[in-house]
Symmetry: C2
Subunit: 458 residues, 2 copies
């Protein structure tokens, strides 16, 4: 194996972008606007990364990130620019909450019908969380006041210390699982606070109206990537099915190799999740701090399940289609029907421990368990969808989890400083590098724009 | 890039072993004893993995794992079998302890001269730790009583709750940093308990006499790997400088590719640290559980520093050469002279946070800081060694840290079940897969033997 792929056989560009998710695509767009010649190398046979839609029976089914909300200015701007229109997530009527014992209750507004003591307890814990989150410096979480102590404990430890009742703890824990798609044991309190602060508040993270689940896009969020790629057209060279194996840099530039092909450029932007960026071979090897960081940032775990019905039958029963469950396997359910309201689509998330269990089950068992729960929530008609589809993000070799990377205790304070700075000619982008809206579509877009700005102003 | 490298051009064997550390070599030895044809593919241009020696001015300097201790039966047996003799780690005379304020004190025996209250506090914490550790099922830590609660918190959280005094906490914390080469915030309490239990007790882990630092090998532990490889000779095909990129398995066997070469076999044993095993491309992709595990097991961080003097001058001053420091950058120092006692070698470990800081400093600064501390401890002669050498294991692309992989909270309970079972024809070995002596030379040997036994009895 040659360490320095021959420059003679290499195609060349000003910048190579690794990954055609929204970070890579917006980065390529901005670089091209500045007159730079860009090559994008994408491992998959599609663009869009963690946004992804499939067509089934002529219907768009969103299998990836699908919500936008207030404060996500760059995402709304991109949608407007690309002619993709916004509509509100359906939320009329009663929401449902399923207790740990499997009882289903209807409620309106934002407060589920659970024991008042549990609600009060979860509310006081949330208030304390929000107060702590205001301390966090999202540009450098490791420099926030008390960072070492906040990063020395799991979110689980904090929840146990902060809540007074078992029911309150369960409720708060369930919300955390839904947000980070892992167990509260797996993430640093500092990371949880940073994440909320990067979105504004925990309330903004978990809310539908006024929060990060408020809006959807006609045709699905995947349209952003598809249209962006189409608009870039021939001006940017997009290579699908091209997983990058190796990045070699020296004083003259970078060589990026995928299989037996090589590209050379002045810079490379690696716009994929940190854990995957650690699987590329770098020559010379990356500094210990950057490599150590990529060893420490696993992805959360979520299986997104979509059940399609001829119509959204729950609406006529006065139900919003929104449900949360303390029982599982689905922890949260939304009405994911297209704006016209037909067909009816229920979207359910299997998250954290449930996803770890479910990924190893046969597909038919997983489907049966999900549909049985939807039937408990929405009645027997939910048991027989016209179509059922699911996306197990942890099983996807070119994502290996979702929604985003989760910092375990100690990672921000010991390695956070290596997350964003370039390693020579290698720049990092992706939703995990964004100080604002970390892990979101918005963060991905901002990170791509930031990486492009670094290169064009250097 | 072809997904299925052509079988026509592939060399073949019964088993391919990835990694020529002690796990891979012992595995290859046992497979060959059973009449199987073995190929070993090693990324480096040497064997031995985390054991490693260099010759400087005719002297062997041990830059990797170098101690053996009671209970490490397979390691002693291997040494005896290979004709490598054992001698005790030098420990006569007074040990030193450096306080956080930089005061140096002499003491004898196992208890450093610190405030009695601090010692009492650390002792009661250790007693509680040992009691908890006895609960742990080393074959399946996630099934130990109370595993979820133990895995829901950091070792840091437990230390804060368990110690009564700041000085006691510091002392216990320092011991933890020395054992796991990371901050107590970074590891799960369950992992710390498992680790100690897998070695017997925490006392065995930290002790010199009667513990895991009791003995050394003439010529260094690297001799084990060197002689093992030499003995295997032509009967096993060892390819150095051959980092594996890709493992493809189907119903007929495996193909293992490194650069443009491919080998095929019935089985492959991947005998490298988990985080590095996650950087190989697998086809078909590994199950989500196994991949998720490799995302979650970072290596500890240690820089091993060796200062060589014409003679062990500290011995004539009544010093053992053993020191512990609450100040740093070195947290622990040992007399690492060869058995004849000349030259004199002081070995210092820079661990955890100190190693993260030091890895980014220029080499001359690192050397100056280490030698300044050795001079504080052992007097001005320590400032001017004849030779100085260091090994920054985190910067090594084919190890990326040491002493071993560290499980953060949640990893054992959510992913531990995926650590040891084969993924089809792919078997896992290495010091991290051993239920006994996890992370040690002994664990590596046992894991290699276990993987070979699984294959030969299947």
């Amino acid at each position: 194996m040659s360490d320095h792929p021959s420059a003679l056989s290499a195609s060349s560009a000003d910048v190579i972008v690794v990954g055609a998710g929204l970070a890579g695509l917006t980065c390529a767009r901005d670089l091209h606007r500045h007159g730079l010649d860009v090559v994008i190398l994408e491992a998959r046979d599609r663009v869009g990364g963690r946004t992804y839609s499939v067509e089934i029976d002529g219907q768009t089914i969103e299998l990836g990130g699908q919500f936008l909300g207030p404060g996500q200015d760059r995402a709304y701007a991109l949608a407007a620019d690309l002619g993709v229109s916004v509509f509100p997530t359906y939320g009329e009527g009663d929401h449902l909450v399923e207790t740990a014992a499997g009882r289903v209750r209807r409620y309106r507004g934002t407060i589920p019908r659970l024991s008042p003591l549990a609600l009060l307890d979860a509310a006081q814990a949330q208030a304390r969380f929000e107060r702590l989150a205001r301390r966090i410096d999202t540009d450098a979480p490791w420099q926030s006041p008390g960072a070492v102590a906040l990063d020395g404990q799991t979110l689980e430890t904090w929840i146990r210390r902060t809540t007074w009742t078992r029911a309150g703890r369960r409720l708060f824990t369930m919300a955390c699982q839904a947000v980070w798609s892992c167990q509260p044991s797996e993430l640093s309190l500092l990371h949880a606070l940073f994440y909320a602060r990067s979105a504004g508040t925990l309330q903004q993270v978990i809310a539908v109206e006024g929060g990060a689940q408020q809006d959807r896009l006609d045709g699905g969020t995947h349209e952003l990537a598809v249209r962006l790629a189409r608009r870039l057209g021939d001006r940017v060279h997009l290579h699908l099915g091209t997983p990058v194996d190796r990045i070699v840099q020296d004083e003259h530039g970078v060589h990026v190799a995928a299989g037996d092909r090589t590209w050379r450029a002045a810079h490379v932007v690696v716009a994929i999740p940190p854990t995957l960026s650690g699987r590329i071979t770098y020559q010379p090897p990356l500094p210990a701090a950057r490599d150590g960081l990529t060893q420490r940032l696993p992805m959360g775990t979520v299986i997104k399940c979509m059940a399609v019905y001829p119509e959204p039958f729950w609406r006529s029963a006065g139900l919003s289609g929104q449900a949360t469950s303390l029982r599982g396997p689905l922890s949260a359910v939304f009405d994911s029907s297209p704006r016209p309201g037909e067909p009816g689509i229920l979207l359910g998330f299997v998250e954290g421990a449930e996803a770890r269990f479910m990924t190893a089950r046969p597909a038919h068992e997983r489907r049966a368990a999900v549909l049985a729960q939807l039937a408990e929530l929405f009645g027997p008609r939910a048991a027989s969808p016209a179509t059922y589809a699911e996306q197990d993000w942890g099983a996807e070799p070119f994502t290996r989890g979702a929604y985003s990377a989760v910092f375990p205790p100690g990672a921000w304070t010991q390695y956070g400083h290596a997350l964003r700075p370039p390693a020579g000619r290698i720049h990092w982008a992706g939703a995990e590098t964004a100080p604002r809206w970390y892990g979101y579509i918005e963060g991905a877009i901002r990170s791509g724009e930031a990486a492009a700005a670094t290169i064009t102003t250097s």
